[in-house]
């Protein structure tokens, strides 16, 4: 696929145009990716409301009936349930890697075995999350392995 970048004036609206014969799976993936760049969600840092860019979230974690979004240096409380976030953002490269963690696949640097069929995912910020054995087949399916 040829990629062409066309510069526009500051006054014009920036947009992405995809020219294709058919909107196949590959094209839909590109659309999802572009849209995910714009996605934000509402987070709370203490009582302060913040708009968090979805692309900056490393993972979501459910702790004592609360859900937190972990960014590079900050942690925000999210008012949604983990399963709701999973439903909303599964197309945005977020993957349920254990019962309580939803990880951004684009933030995983590498994985390595962690005994008993589990994997240790090292994130780009140096943090590590466990990929449970029961979620590995789903990950392989997403990655088409």
């Amino acid at each position: 696929m040829r990629v062409r970048i066309e510069k526009v004036n500051k006054k014009e609206e920036e947009h992405v145009l995809i020219r294709c014969c058919k909107a196949n799976e590959e094209v839909l993936e590109i659309i999802d990716f572009i849209k995910s760049r714009d996605d934000t969600l509402l987070g709370y840092e203490d009582a302060r409301k913040c708009q968090i860019p979805l692309r900056d979230v490393y993972y979501f974690e459910g702790v004592d009936n609360k859900v937190y979004a972990y960014l590079k240096n900050n942690v925000y409380e999210i008012k949604n349930k983990l399963y709701e976030l999973e439903e909303i953002y599964s197309t945005k490269k977020f993957f349920r890697c254990s019962k309580s963690v939803l990880v951004n696949l684009l933030k995983i640097e590498s994985v390595k075995p962690a005994l008993n069929g589990r994997f240790n995912a090292k994130l780009l910020n140096g943090e590590q999350v466990i990929i449970s054995r029961s979620y590995v087949p789903e990950l392989k399916k997403i990655l088409r392995i």
């Binding site: 974690e61 459910g62 702790v63 004592d64 009936n65 609360k66 937190y68 972990y70 942690v75 983990l82 490269k93 254990s98 019962k99 309580s100 963690v101 696949l105 684009l106 995983i108 590498s110 994985v111 390595k112 075995p113 962690a114 005994l115 008993n116 069929g117 589990r118 994997f119 240790n120 943090e127 999350v129 466990i130 449970s132 590995v136 990950l139 392989k140 990655l143 088409r144 392995i145």
Partner: protein
């Protein structure tokens, strides 16, 4: 991470172990059948011998409860429990062999312990090789995705 709140059900865990239990029982039954047919083809076994795979299965599966945790275990926690599991497995296997009168002397005891160790190490090694291959595949695809 702040911690894990979603609990792994004990019943769910037990169901998995039950599945493993029947796999082990089948394996032991097959081993007894094939070894018996080849090594003692003229011997006949009594009805109560059919209970031995079931009992051996319980002895083999019970130490696995050491892996039960409400929270997701870290690598270090899992490694610690693996070591503990191995020790428990050796103790239960030797205990079972002692109760059934199989442990005749120190040499047999040592050989049985070594056998358990070798099988444990072998299965862990195979599992590690398969997981390492999977990790390579996952890393390759993740890299492609990031690019």
């Amino acid at each position: 991470m702040k911690g894990m709140n979603v609990k792994l059900s004990f019943i769910e865990f037990s169901k998995k172990l039950l599945k493993n239990y029947f796999i082990i029982v089948t394996g032991i039954t097959m081993a007894i059948a094939f070894l018996g047919m080849n090594m003692y083809p003229n011997e006949r076994i009594p009805y109560d011998a059919f209970l031995s795979p079931l009992i051996l299965g319980i002895v083999a599966i019970l130490p696995s409860y050491i892996f039960y945790s409400k929270n997701e275990l870290t690598f270090k926690q899992m490694l610690f429990r693996k070591i503990l599991h191995f020790i428990l497995l050796v103790i239960t296997q030797l205990g079972f062999a002692y109760v059934t009168g199989l442990l005749k002397n120190a040499e047999v005891t040592f050989l049985l312990a070594i056998s358990v160790f070798a099988v444990y190490l072998f299965t862990m090694g195979i599992s590690w090789i398969i997981d390492s291959k999977t990790a390579i595949d996952i890393n390759r695809e993740l890299k492609k995705m990031r690019e």
